[in-house]
Symmetry: C2
Protein backbone atom coordinates (compact mmCIF):
# COMPACT_ATOMS: atom_id res chain seq x y z
CA UNK A 1 0.00 0.00 0.00
CA UNK A 2 1.27 3.46 -0.85
CA UNK A 3 2.17 5.29 2.30
CA UNK A 4 3.26 8.85 1.68
CA UNK A 5 3.71 11.46 4.35
CA UNK A 6 0.77 13.86 4.32
CA UNK A 7 -1.99 15.01 2.05
CA UNK A 8 -1.47 18.70 2.61
CA UNK A 9 1.85 18.91 0.77
CA UNK A 10 0.26 17.97 -2.60
CA UNK A 11 -1.69 20.14 -4.98
CA UNK A 12 -4.36 17.44 -5.26
CA UNK A 13 -5.23 14.68 -2.82
CA UNK A 14 -3.78 11.31 -3.77
CA UNK A 15 -6.12 8.38 -4.13
CA UNK A 16 -4.06 5.96 -2.08
CA UNK A 17 -3.85 8.38 0.84
CA UNK A 18 -7.55 8.53 1.36
CA UNK A 19 -9.24 6.67 4.16
CA UNK A 20 -12.47 7.30 2.28
CA UNK A 21 -11.28 5.35 -0.74
CA UNK A 22 -10.06 2.60 1.58
CA UNK A 23 -13.49 2.32 3.18
CA UNK A 24 -15.29 2.43 -0.15
CA UNK A 25 -13.04 -0.31 -1.48
CA UNK A 26 -13.15 -2.49 1.61
CA UNK A 27 -16.91 -2.27 1.79
CA UNK A 28 -17.29 -3.40 -1.81
CA UNK A 29 -14.72 -6.18 -1.42
CA UNK A 30 -16.57 -7.47 1.64
CA UNK A 31 -19.92 -7.30 -0.09
CA UNK A 32 -18.48 -9.29 -2.99
CA UNK A 33 -17.49 -12.09 -0.56
CA UNK A 34 -20.89 -12.06 1.06
CA UNK A 35 -22.51 -12.13 -2.38
CA UNK A 36 -20.96 -15.54 -3.08
CA UNK A 37 -22.43 -16.87 0.14
CA UNK A 38 -25.81 -15.14 -0.05
CA UNK A 39 -26.62 -15.61 -3.73
CA UNK A 40 -27.45 -19.34 -3.31
CA UNK A 41 -29.93 -18.36 -0.59
CA UNK A 42 -31.55 -15.75 -2.82
CA UNK A 43 -30.45 -12.78 -0.70
CA UNK A 44 -28.52 -9.63 -1.48
CA UNK A 45 -26.26 -8.07 1.14
CA UNK A 46 -28.67 -5.25 2.08
CA UNK A 47 -31.47 -7.82 2.30
CA UNK A 48 -29.26 -9.91 4.60
CA UNK A 49 -28.78 -6.86 6.85
CA UNK A 50 -32.56 -6.52 7.13
CA UNK A 51 -32.81 -10.21 8.00
CA UNK A 52 -30.13 -9.78 10.71
CA UNK A 53 -32.28 -7.13 12.38
CA UNK A 54 -35.37 -9.33 12.15
CA UNK A 55 -33.51 -12.34 13.55
CA UNK A 56 -32.71 -10.25 16.62
CA UNK A 57 -36.35 -9.34 17.20
CA UNK A 58 -39.59 -9.05 15.28
CA UNK A 59 -41.89 -7.64 14.23
CA UNK A 60 -40.29 -4.26 13.63
CA UNK A 61 -41.46 -1.18 11.78
CA UNK A 62 -39.89 0.08 8.59
CA UNK A 63 -38.59 3.10 10.49
CA UNK A 64 -36.95 0.86 13.10
CA UNK A 65 -35.14 -0.96 10.28
CA UNK A 66 -34.18 2.41 8.88
CA UNK A 67 -32.76 3.55 12.21
CA UNK A 68 -30.71 0.38 12.68
CA UNK A 69 -29.36 0.30 9.13
CA UNK A 70 -29.27 4.04 8.39
CA UNK A 71 -31.54 3.56 5.39
CA UNK A 72 -34.63 5.51 4.41
CA UNK A 73 -38.00 4.30 3.17
CA UNK A 74 -36.95 5.05 -0.40
CA UNK A 75 -34.44 2.22 -0.10
CA UNK A 76 -36.34 -0.04 2.28
CA UNK A 77 -39.77 -0.05 0.67
CA UNK A 78 -38.73 -1.70 -2.61
CA UNK A 79 -36.21 -3.93 -0.78
CA UNK A 80 -38.94 -5.19 1.57
CA UNK A 81 -41.28 -5.72 -1.37
CA UNK A 82 -38.65 -8.01 -2.89
CA UNK A 83 -38.08 -9.82 0.42
CA UNK A 84 -41.84 -10.32 0.69
CA UNK A 85 -42.06 -11.57 -2.91
CA UNK A 86 -39.26 -14.03 -2.10
CA UNK A 87 -41.34 -15.33 0.81
CA UNK A 88 -38.93 -14.35 3.60
CA UNK A 89 -40.94 -11.58 5.30
CA UNK A 90 -44.49 -10.39 5.74
CA UNK A 91 -45.70 -6.79 5.90
CA UNK A 92 -48.79 -5.75 7.81
CA UNK A 93 -50.16 -2.37 8.74
CA UNK A 94 -50.04 -1.85 12.49
CA UNK A 95 -53.45 -1.85 14.17
CA UNK A 96 -52.23 0.70 16.75
CA UNK A 97 -50.92 3.13 14.19
CA UNK A 98 -52.15 2.78 10.64
CA UNK A 99 -49.15 4.75 9.38
CA UNK A 100 -46.74 2.04 10.49
CA UNK A 101 -45.95 -1.19 8.70
CA UNK A 102 -44.84 -4.15 10.80
CA UNK A 103 -42.29 -6.41 9.15
CA UNK A 104 -42.13 -9.98 10.43
CA UNK A 105 -40.42 -13.23 9.47
CA UNK A 106 -42.13 -16.03 7.58
CA UNK A 107 -41.12 -19.61 8.51
CA UNK A 108 -38.88 -19.58 5.40
CA UNK A 109 -37.27 -16.36 6.58
CA UNK A 110 -36.68 -17.82 10.03
CA UNK A 111 -35.10 -20.94 8.56
CA UNK A 112 -32.55 -18.89 6.64
CA UNK A 113 -31.01 -17.87 9.95
CA UNK A 114 -29.38 -21.21 10.60
CA UNK A 115 -27.83 -21.22 7.15
CA UNK A 116 -26.02 -17.93 7.73
CA UNK A 117 -24.49 -18.40 11.18
CA UNK A 118 -21.01 -19.18 9.83
CA UNK A 119 -20.92 -16.44 7.18
CA UNK A 120 -19.18 -13.76 9.26
CA UNK A 121 -16.40 -16.08 10.32
CA UNK A 122 -15.98 -17.32 6.73
CA UNK A 123 -15.56 -13.79 5.45
CA UNK A 124 -13.45 -12.61 8.38
CA UNK A 125 -11.29 -15.71 8.09
CA UNK A 126 -10.36 -14.57 4.59
CA UNK A 127 -9.05 -11.31 5.99
CA UNK A 128 -6.01 -12.93 7.56
CA UNK A 129 -6.60 -10.95 10.76
CA UNK A 130 -7.14 -12.33 14.25
CA UNK A 131 -10.53 -12.03 15.91
CA UNK A 132 -9.10 -9.43 18.28
CA UNK A 133 -7.65 -7.38 15.45
CA UNK A 134 -10.96 -7.50 13.60
CA UNK A 135 -12.89 -6.43 16.68
CA UNK A 136 -10.55 -3.50 17.24
CA UNK A 137 -10.82 -2.50 13.60
CA UNK A 138 -14.60 -2.81 13.76
CA UNK A 139 -14.82 -0.55 16.80
CA UNK A 140 -12.57 2.06 15.19
CA UNK A 141 -14.59 2.00 11.99
CA UNK A 142 -17.87 2.29 13.91
CA UNK A 143 -16.43 5.21 15.88
CA UNK A 144 -15.24 6.87 12.70
CA UNK A 145 -18.66 6.48 11.08
CA UNK A 146 -20.41 7.74 14.19
CA UNK A 147 -18.29 10.87 14.39
CA UNK A 148 -18.41 11.61 10.71
CA UNK A 149 -22.18 11.26 10.59
CA UNK A 150 -22.88 14.01 13.11
CA UNK A 151 -21.92 16.89 10.75
CA UNK A 152 -18.98 18.52 9.07
Amino acid sequence: MASRSSTSEHSAPLLDEQICFALYNASRAMTARYRELLEPLGLTYPQYLVMLVLWESEPVTVSHLGARLQLDSGTLSPLLRRLEAAGFVERNRSADDERSVLVSLTPAGDELRAQTTRFPELVCGASGLSIDAIEMLRDQVFAFAGNIRTSI
Copy 2:
Protein backbone atom coordinates in the same frame (compact mmCIF):
# COMPACT_ATOMS: atom_id res chain seq x y z
CA MET B 1 -21.01 0.87 20.19
CA ALA B 2 -22.16 -2.59 21.23
CA SER B 3 -19.19 -4.73 22.11
CA ARG B 4 -20.17 -8.29 22.90
CA SER B 5 -17.77 -11.14 23.29
CA SER B 6 -17.86 -13.32 20.20
CA THR B 7 -20.09 -14.11 17.26
CA SER B 8 -19.85 -17.87 17.58
CA GLU B 9 -21.86 -18.15 20.78
CA HIS B 10 -25.05 -16.84 19.11
CA SER B 11 -27.44 -18.68 16.87
CA ALA B 12 -27.42 -15.79 14.42
CA PRO B 13 -24.72 -13.19 13.86
CA LEU B 14 -25.50 -9.85 15.52
CA LEU B 15 -25.53 -6.76 13.38
CA ASP B 16 -23.41 -4.67 15.69
CA GLU B 17 -20.70 -7.31 15.85
CA GLN B 18 -20.02 -7.22 12.18
CA ILE B 19 -17.00 -5.48 10.73
CA CYS B 20 -18.79 -5.72 7.38
CA PHE B 21 -21.70 -3.62 8.59
CA ALA B 22 -19.24 -1.15 10.12
CA LEU B 23 -17.47 -0.76 6.78
CA TYR B 24 -20.72 -0.50 4.84
CA ASN B 25 -21.94 2.18 7.24
CA ALA B 26 -18.70 4.11 7.43
CA SER B 27 -18.37 4.15 3.66
CA ARG B 28 -21.86 5.59 3.23
CA ALA B 29 -21.39 8.13 6.03
CA MET B 30 -18.16 9.31 4.40
CA THR B 31 -19.75 9.51 0.97
CA ALA B 32 -22.56 11.61 2.46
CA ARG B 33 -19.98 14.12 3.76
CA TYR B 34 -18.21 14.24 0.41
CA ARG B 35 -21.56 14.68 -1.32
CA GLU B 36 -22.10 18.01 0.45
CA LEU B 37 -18.72 19.20 -0.77
CA LEU B 38 -18.88 17.74 -4.28
CA GLU B 39 -22.47 18.55 -5.22
CA PRO B 40 -21.76 22.27 -5.72
CA LEU B 41 -18.99 21.28 -8.17
CA GLY B 42 -21.32 18.98 -10.08
CA LEU B 43 -19.47 15.79 -9.13
CA THR B 44 -20.57 12.57 -7.46
CA TYR B 45 -18.16 10.67 -5.23
CA PRO B 46 -17.33 7.96 -7.81
CA GLN B 47 -16.80 10.70 -10.39
CA TYR B 48 -14.46 12.44 -7.94
CA LEU B 49 -12.45 9.21 -7.61
CA VAL B 50 -12.03 9.13 -11.39
CA MET B 51 -10.88 12.75 -11.31
CA LEU B 52 -8.34 11.91 -8.57
CA VAL B 53 -6.76 9.32 -10.85
CA LEU B 54 -6.70 11.76 -13.78
CA TRP B 55 -5.17 14.52 -11.63
CA GLU B 56 -2.31 12.14 -10.87
CA SER B 57 -1.60 11.49 -14.56
CA GLU B 58 -3.42 11.58 -17.87
CA PRO B 59 -4.45 10.41 -20.33
CA VAL B 60 -5.36 6.98 -19.02
CA THR B 61 -7.37 4.14 -20.49
CA VAL B 62 -10.71 3.02 -19.15
CA SER B 63 -9.08 -0.22 -18.03
CA HIS B 64 -6.42 1.68 -16.11
CA LEU B 65 -9.17 3.56 -14.28
CA GLY B 66 -10.84 0.24 -13.64
CA ALA B 67 -7.67 -1.26 -12.17
CA ARG B 68 -7.08 1.72 -9.88
CA LEU B 69 -10.68 1.96 -8.64
CA GLN B 70 -11.68 -1.71 -8.84
CA LEU B 71 -14.53 -0.85 -11.22
CA ASP B 72 -15.51 -2.48 -14.49
CA SER B 73 -16.50 -0.94 -17.79
CA GLY B 74 -20.14 -1.49 -16.95
CA THR B 75 -19.76 1.11 -14.22
CA LEU B 76 -17.15 3.34 -15.84
CA SER B 77 -18.60 3.71 -19.34
CA PRO B 78 -21.78 5.51 -18.29
CA LEU B 79 -19.93 7.41 -15.53
CA LEU B 80 -17.38 8.69 -18.07
CA ARG B 81 -20.15 9.61 -20.46
CA ARG B 82 -21.64 11.80 -17.74
CA LEU B 83 -18.24 13.32 -16.90
CA GLU B 84 -17.76 14.07 -20.60
CA ALA B 85 -21.24 15.58 -20.87
CA ALA B 86 -20.40 17.78 -17.86
CA GLY B 87 -17.31 19.01 -19.71
CA PHE B 88 -14.70 17.65 -17.27
CA VAL B 89 -13.11 14.92 -19.42
CA GLU B 90 -12.59 13.97 -23.03
CA ARG B 91 -12.65 10.47 -24.50
CA ASN B 92 -10.68 9.53 -27.59
CA ARG B 93 -9.93 6.19 -29.19
CA SER B 94 -6.23 5.39 -28.98
CA ALA B 95 -4.42 5.54 -32.32
CA ASP B 96 -2.08 2.73 -31.24
CA ASP B 97 -4.86 0.38 -30.22
CA GLU B 98 -8.30 1.11 -31.55
CA ARG B 99 -9.83 -0.98 -28.76
CA SER B 100 -8.64 1.44 -26.08
CA VAL B 101 -10.23 4.72 -25.11
CA LEU B 102 -7.99 7.43 -23.67
CA VAL B 103 -9.59 9.60 -21.02
CA SER B 104 -8.06 13.03 -20.52
CA LEU B 105 -8.87 16.21 -18.62
CA THR B 106 -10.47 19.26 -20.18
CA PRO B 107 -9.36 22.67 -18.87
CA ALA B 108 -12.54 22.72 -16.77
CA GLY B 109 -11.66 19.31 -15.35
CA ASP B 110 -8.15 20.47 -14.52
CA GLU B 111 -9.48 23.56 -12.76
CA LEU B 112 -11.64 21.47 -10.45
CA ARG B 113 -8.49 20.09 -8.87
CA ALA B 114 -7.67 23.26 -6.96
CA GLN B 115 -11.19 23.40 -5.55
CA THR B 116 -10.92 19.95 -3.99
CA THR B 117 -7.53 20.05 -2.28
CA ARG B 118 -8.98 20.67 1.19
CA PHE B 119 -11.80 18.15 0.97
CA PRO B 120 -10.01 15.19 2.57
CA GLU B 121 -8.93 17.20 5.59
CA LEU B 122 -12.42 18.68 5.94
CA VAL B 123 -13.97 15.23 6.04
CA CYS B 124 -11.22 13.69 8.17
CA GLY B 125 -11.37 16.64 10.54
CA ALA B 126 -14.99 15.70 11.26
CA SER B 127 -13.87 12.25 12.36
CA GLY B 128 -12.31 13.53 15.56
CA LEU B 129 -9.25 11.36 14.96
CA SER B 130 -5.66 12.52 14.65
CA ILE B 131 -3.86 12.35 11.31
CA ASP B 132 -1.76 9.48 12.63
CA ALA B 133 -4.80 7.54 13.81
CA ILE B 134 -6.49 8.04 10.45
CA GLU B 135 -3.40 6.88 8.56
CA MET B 136 -3.17 3.75 10.71
CA LEU B 137 -6.86 3.04 10.23
CA ARG B 138 -6.53 3.61 6.48
CA ASP B 139 -3.63 1.15 6.20
CA GLN B 140 -5.54 -1.49 8.20
CA VAL B 141 -8.64 -1.04 6.05
CA PHE B 142 -6.60 -1.23 2.83
CA ALA B 143 -4.92 -4.40 4.12
CA PHE B 144 -8.26 -5.88 5.07
CA ALA B 145 -9.68 -5.12 1.61
CA GLY B 146 -6.60 -6.48 -0.10
CA ASN B 147 -6.74 -9.77 1.78
CA ILE B 148 -10.45 -10.20 1.46
CA ARG B 149 -10.37 -9.57 -2.27
CA THR B 150 -8.06 -12.45 -3.10
CA SER B 151 -10.68 -15.19 -2.46
CA ILE B 152 -12.55 -16.92 0.28
